[in-house]
């Protein structure tokens, strides 16, 4: 033996260890991947050896390879083996590997429960420590539930080393198993005052994490924390507590007042910058009203920002942005400093400064600030920073409904300039802004259209390298604006041609679709223009152009584009026919797009209140079989705007038809409470299309050139704006004492002078910012922003309520079927609640081993359905079985019987599709469940649930079973074997109740089916009738098994003892996953998993008479074969 050990260790010396592996990888720089794959092959060989030292060496190397990006989940089982080594050296390696690669999806993780539990209660504190550390990385909801109680015990461990780890890991447990929070909280609270500073710090840490997510539940702890804050000298703890107070004070203003003093003291006394900084932060948070104090903070922060240390500068800016939210004025006075930070070489600092700028703009300085930012955009190197700049510019300009923008032409030019950015991800942002401004600021439309037409014309510049970057999104906006507001377009022909260029087909599909749609709008307005001026030739030319170019879109691979294009092509062909007949068509065509579009608030649809008495879930008609209802809206991927258009487009335009539809639609809209009515602004009417009256009057700012040659330069506007303001000022001086401005007209900007503060700069042109529409009676906005999937939401638990009994943590339980609760959706929920809790602590130690022989029994569950002759009712019965109790009668002659029995039952039980033992009938239903009895090894209790499914009253129920030689129902003394047992209750309609019946057994190695009858009286208004319900009870062999955990060492001994008999069987055609299969075996047949290696698992169970049943399940490639391994049975020495 000793010799063997020495030999083993000498062999081991020459194995490659971690250092050799690293060295090898460094020496194979050229063919690293090849070398590593060789190493992995070696590791696989090493893992197959029995020597734990070799195995752990292999696992150690795998951990290294994992860091290099190799997936090592295939070795999960070996990692568990190493985790369960008895030596700390190996255990630590195993847990490290597990913490690096295990996660919730690791299926073997369920096998670790008992191992971890054992390590947690190990006498060696480092075993416990290493287990806690490992668990903190891979805890799953199941592990958390099963181990919560053990960890809670460790929170009161004698060693602080364990205590602090146990306290810390509780946070992870809470996250995975929120039910544990309330029972564990009192102890956690105790730990806040632990004598050991490490434990205390851990407890503060956990509570701060918890309170950060749901602060209001922790307000009651404030006094305790206050005490800690004034007494603790540990800076880590102080920082955490002060941070926590920052989260609590917004909820409790009085707290703020109390805090000011100790915080001020800390600020003055501490030499630790980190603590000082957090104090300032919390003072900012708790001092919303005291302006003087925050002024002090701002000054302190200014000192930080001016510091040469970049870290302090960064943090100063960060804290500044918090003040900005409550006291924007006090920050604005430091604009100089912040603008200076924009030029800092450090990107982090620039980003922070950008953040601050957002709150600092005003009408006066917006242009200047944005100009500065634009310069930075040009200089910026990294795309991240540039994108950040871009979003910031848009944010700054669009904030509070464009509050600070005085000149929208300037803003449009800024947006157009931004389209020149290469490789930005924010094309859609720019596009959204363009659309928003063009729709909502009526006065700017003409200018916007001219700019957009130019963009379309230069699309090749934007679209050249577009497929990857998002800037081509602006073409979406450009096309739409040009189309929708085509009446403002001067060179419509040119724009239309630009949109018809072949190059367009390389754009993304959704953009092409918008192109196609808006071409028609453009086309319609051109057509109208030409017809009015009597240029028939030109009108026909343009139609011809469309017909020539549209087919390229008809061929598009994008469905949306194709569909739109082909519809429109047909439409235009039809128009062409009419044109040839010299029928004027323009008005008809333009009518397709009549109507003004109103901006709708993004949340409007959600806010429509449901009218009283309307049930949205109810069917209006019977569910349609196949025909679609007519008014079903097509699901489009476009914005509302397009959706409305696409609905208007009709392939044939026949005037009557059109008018009819229009009427119908108006009617429908009038009646439709959800239709968002247009604003009172005069609507375009198609009848009187010619003329200009209905076109919104645009106030033209004559001092601004409307057509900017080439790309616009926003700088021009800055200059112009300066001049304008200057002029304004002069005039204001002149008119100083005159009356206020009158109504604004075309030249309003010269006379619309306020005698108010300088801040109030008059906008360059009258801007009618239409507010987005909201439905009437919109519900107040409330829970819009809450994310239902927030993992921390589950931890929003009231901690002050007294603890109920039901909330106690689950006490230690063994690895039974429950831990294996699989995705078995068929498992009826009733069964869960009834699982008896068993405590067995016999076999406790553990070695790894591989069991080869198993035995097996199998339970058969079935359902029955029977018809009753006398009545018309059909009756079915539910049956279910679980476990059984038994009484002691005979202990001998087990071996051989059980062998036959098991084999046989295995054959008749198909594992994969067990029929659910549930059936029912119109009147009543039975569900049963067989439970073994630990005390009494030849008795089983059958619990039957009676359910009344009728509307009548059921009474005088009597249950009778035809006894067999082997199994007999236990009847009251003195009654004959043919008497039934009365059910001790009556059932009102819809009620179910449970009764228990005891059966005695002679042999447990035989499957049994017992026939039985339930007789009862049905009583209703019309009188009462006597009814009978036949059923069958199935006592399969597996129902005599009791789920018993077994450790692999005990298991191995059992197998080695040679007392077991064996048999095996193959089962074909199983289609469920292996894990699912195991879960099913555990669940239905009362087995527990001893260990599992890949697709091979050892399972164990014990009969009520103490027979061991071992089972080896193997999955064979191709079809899944079940090898019911080597079955045998023996007398248990214990019983």
């Amino acid at each position: 033996m000793a010799l063997k050990m020495v030999k083993g260790s000498i062999d081991r010396m020459f194995d490659k260890n971690l250092q050799d592996l690293v060295r090898g990888i460094r020496n194979h720089k050229e063919d690293e991947a090849k070398y590593i794959s060789q190493c992995i092959d070696e590791i696989k060989q090493e893992l197959k050896q029995d020597n734990i030292a070799v195995k752990s060496n292999a696992v150690c190397k795998l951990t290294y390879l994992q860091m290099l990006g190799y997936d090592i989940s295939w070795a999960a089982f070996n990692i568990i083996e190493v985790m369960s080594a008895s030596k700390f050296t190996f255990k630590r390696i195993g847990y490290l590997a597990a913490s690096q690669c295990f996660h919730e999806g690791t299926d073997v993780i369920m096998l670790t429960t008992n191992q971890i539990r054992k390590d947690l209660s190990s006498p060696n504190q480092y075993d416990t420590g290493v287990a806690l550390t490992g668990l903190s990385c891979f805890v799953t909801p199941d592990l958390a539930r099963d181990l919560a109680n053990d960890i809670m015990t460790l929170m009161s461990h004698t060693k602080p080393y364990i205590r602090k780890k146990a306290v810390l890991i509780m946070y992870k447990v809470f996250l995975k198993y929120p039910e544990s929070l309330r029972p564990a909280f009192p102890r956690l609270k105790e730990k806040l005052e632990d004598p050991d500073p490490g434990v205390q710090s851990a407890a503060v840490n956990v509570i701060c994490e918890l309170a950060r997510r749901n602060p209001k539940n922790y307000l009651s702890l404030a006094p305790l924390f206050f005490k800690l804050m004034t007494s603790s000298t540990n800076n880590w703890v102080l920082i955490k507590i002060i941070k926590l107070f920052g989260a609590l004070t917004p909820l409790e203003p009085r707290l703020g007042k109390k805090l000011i003093e100790p915080l001020t003291n800390l600020i003055h006394s501490t030499s630790a910058m980190s603590l000082l900084y957090e104090c300032v932060n919390t003072v900012i948070a708790c001092n919303k009203h005291g302006l003087s104090f925050s002024q002090l903070c701002v000054q302190k922060l200014r000192i930080l920002i001016e510091d040469s240390d970049q870290n302090l500068k960064y943090l100063g800016l960060l804290a500044m942005s918090k003040i900005l939210k409550t006291h924007p004025k006090s920050v604005q006075s430091h604009k100089d400093l912040i603008l200076q930070c924009l030029d800092d070489k450090d990107e982090s600092i620039r980003l922070r400064a950008l953040d601050l700028l957002y709150g600092m703009v005003s009408k006066k300085n917006l242009m200047e600030i944005v100009k500065k930012l634009m310069i930075h955009v040009d200089k910026a190197e990294g795309t991240t920073y540039r994108d950040e700049l871009l979003t910031k510019i848009i944010d700054i300009c669009s904030q509070s409904n464009y509050q600070y923008i005085t000149n929208f032409e300037w803003y449009i030019s800024i947006l157009v300039e931004l389209t020149r950015l290469e490789g930005t991800r924010h094309g859609h942002l720019i596009a959204a802004q363009m659309l928003d401004v063009a729709i909502r600021v009526k006065a700017i439309r003409k200018f916007a259209v001219s700019q957009m037409a130019m963009l379309l014309d230069n699309a090749h510049l934007i679209a050249s390298n577009t497929q990857r970057n998002g800037i081509c999104e602006v073409l979406y906006a450009a096309a739409w604006i040009c189309g929708e507001f085509s009446e403002h377009l001067e060179e419509a022909n040119q724009t239309l041609e630009a949109m018809l260029r072949p190059k367009v087909t390389t754009l993304p599909g959704h953009i092409q679709a918008v192109y196609v749609q808006n071409m028609v709008k453009l086309y319609a307005s051109i057509l109208q223009q030409k017809e009015q001026s009597g240029e028939k030739e030109a009108a026909q030319e343009i139609t011809q152009l469309m017909i020539e170019r549209l087919p390229q879109f008809v061929q598009s691979a994008d469905l949306e584009v194709q569909e739109r294009a082909s519809c429109i092509l047909q439409l235009i062909k039809y128009i062409q026919k009419l044109q040839i007949k010299e029928v004027p068509v323009a008005e008809e065509v333009i009518a397709l797009f009549a109507g003004e579009l109103n901006p709708v608030a993004p949340k409007a649809q959600k806010k429509v209140p449901v009218p009283e008495g309307l049930d949205l879930d109810a069917w209006i008609n019977e569910p349609p079989s196949d025909s679609e209802s007519e008014d079903e809206k097509p699901k489009t991927i476009f914005h509302d705007e397009e959706q409305r258009h696409s609905r208007h487009r009709q392939p044939e335009i026949d005037e009557e038809e059109l008018a009819r539809r229009r009427e119908a639609r108006k009617q429908e809209q009038a009646n439709n409470p959800f239709y968002i009515k247009s604003s009172p602004s005069p609507q375009k009417r198609y009848q009187d299309t010619p003329g200009v009256e209905h076109i919104p009057v645009v106030q033209i700012d004559l001092s601004v050139p409307l057509k900017v040659p080439g790309m616009p330069m926003s700088d021009q506007y800055v200059k112009l704006e300066e001049e304008r303001r200057h002029k304004q000022k002069l005039e204001k001086d002149k008119k100083k004492k005159k009356q206020k401005k009158e109504k604004r007209g075309k030249h309003h900007r010269h006379n619309s002078l306020h005698t108010e503060s300088e801040e109030d700069i008059t906008p360059a042109h009258h801007v009618d910012i239409i507010t987005e529409e909201m439905p009437e009676n919109a519900l107040p906005s409330d829970e819009d922003d809450k994310d239902p999937n927030d993992p921390y939401k589950a931890l929003d638990i009231d901690l002050d309520k007294p603890l109920a009994d039901s909330e106690k943590l689950p006490v230690q339980r063994h690895r039974n079927a429950e831990t294996l609760k699989s995705p078995d959706s068929e498992a009826p929920p009733v069964e869960k609640s009834k699982k008896p809790k068993k405590k067995e602590k016999k076999h406790r130690e553990k070695e790894r081993d591989k069991g080869k022989k198993k035995e097996k029994e199998k339970k058969v569950v079935e359902e029955e359905e029977e018809k009753k002759k006398s009545s018309k009712h059909k009756k079915k019965k539910h049956k279910k079985e679980k476990e059984e109790k038994s009484k002691d009668k005979k202990k001998s002659k087990k071996k051989h019987h059980s062998e036959e029995e098991a084999t046989e039952s295995v054959q008749n039980g198909t594992l994969d599709d067990e029929p659910l033992p549930v059936s029912s009938c119109a009147l009543a239903a039975l569900t049963y469940d067989i439970q073994g009895n630990l005390q009494n090894d030849s008795q089983v209790t059958v619990s039957v649930i009676f359910e009344n499914k009728s509307t009548s009253f059921l009474k005088s129920m009597e249950l009778n079973v035809l006894d067999s030689l082997n199994t007999k129902m236990l009847r009251p003394e003195g009654s004959s074997v043919h008497d039934g047992i009365p059910v001790p209750f009556q059932l009102p309609p819809g009620i179910s109740n449970e009764a228990q019946f005891v059966f005695t057994l002679q042999s447990i190695v035989m499957a049994q089916k017992l026939k039985g009858t339930l007789s009862f009286i049905v009583k209703n208004d019309e009188g009462s009738t006597h009814e009978k319900l036949d059923f069958k009870l199935h006592f399969s062999c597996a129902s005599y098994l009791i789920t018993t955990p077994c450790y692999s060492d005990a298991f191995a001994k059992l197998l080695e003892s040679g007392d077991l008999h064996m048999s095996s069987i193959k089962v074909d055609g199983i289609s469920i996953s292996f894990q699912h299969l195991l879960a099913k075996i555990c669940f239905h047949h009362h087995f527990s998993v001893v260990e599992r290696v890949d697709s091979c698992a050892s399972m164990y169970s014990r009969s009520i008479q103490g027979h061991h049943v071992c089972l080896l399940v193997k999955k064979v490639t191709f079809s899944i074969l079940l090898e019911r391994g080597k079955y045998s049975c023996l007398k248990c020495p214990g019983t």
Partner: protein, 193 residues
């Protein structure tokens, strides 16, 4: 919470990776690459905080790093951690490594990544700071090493001998990552208790 702790060298080679959130191996490598890319292009005398890591996500998260000679130590944390506190923690970590390895250098980390993990496990557990007192950490590590040695016993002796022989071939690389060089710029927490 600390989301991840990464150590890589000036060329982006990972020397230690510890994720406290689940990421697939591929994503982990991507995160390491991205982080290296972000961190390595920064000058020496800029601040140690960094936003904008896309993969290890969210606006709440920050990268806090320190650069020691050939190695970057990067912590990815959320807003519940104090920025300066984490900077100190990195310092404590490096000093502890220095104590445990006696003048730590990159080679120590390369060849004994498991030991580095063990040291880290005594400081940070499941993403939360466990211990900041260096002496306490070193005591625990020493005790565990002792335990390990006693377990190896006689059988371990030949293996140690062989490994000593193997190590003789190690290339000579200056054993110093110079933690003294970059002194702590921030006036730090005076003591961790």
């Amino acid at each position: 919470m600390i989301k991840a702790i990464l150590i890589f060298n000036n060329h982006g080679k990972p020397r230690l990776s510890k994720f406290y959130q689940r990421y697939s191996e591929d994503t982990q490598q991507q995160i390491i690459r991205e982080t290296f890319h972000l961190v390595s292009k920064r000058d020496e005398n800029v601040c140690n905080f960094l936003e904008g890591g896309l993969l290890i996500g969210g606006s709440d998260n920050k990268l806090i790093y320190r650069h020691y000679a050939t190695l970057y130590f990067v912590f990815c944390v959320d807003s519940s951690e104090s920025e300066l506190g984490i900077l100190d923690l990195i310092q404590v970590f490096v000093e502890t490594l220095d104590k445990c390895f006696e003048n730590v250098c990159e080679l120590d980390l390369i060849f004994h990544v498991d030991k580095v993990h063990n040291i880290l496990a005594e400081m940070v557990m499941g993403g939360m700071v466990l211990e900041t007192n260096m002496n306490e950490i070193v005591t625990q590590i020493d005790a565990q090493n002792k335990l390990e040695k006693s377990e190896a016993g006689l059988a371990g002796a030949p293996a140690r001998a062989v490994s000593a022989v193997k190590n003789m071939n190690l290339p000579e690389i200056p054993r110093n990552i110079n933690i003294g060089d970059i002194s702590i710029k921030v006036p730090n927490l005076p003591t961790f208790k």
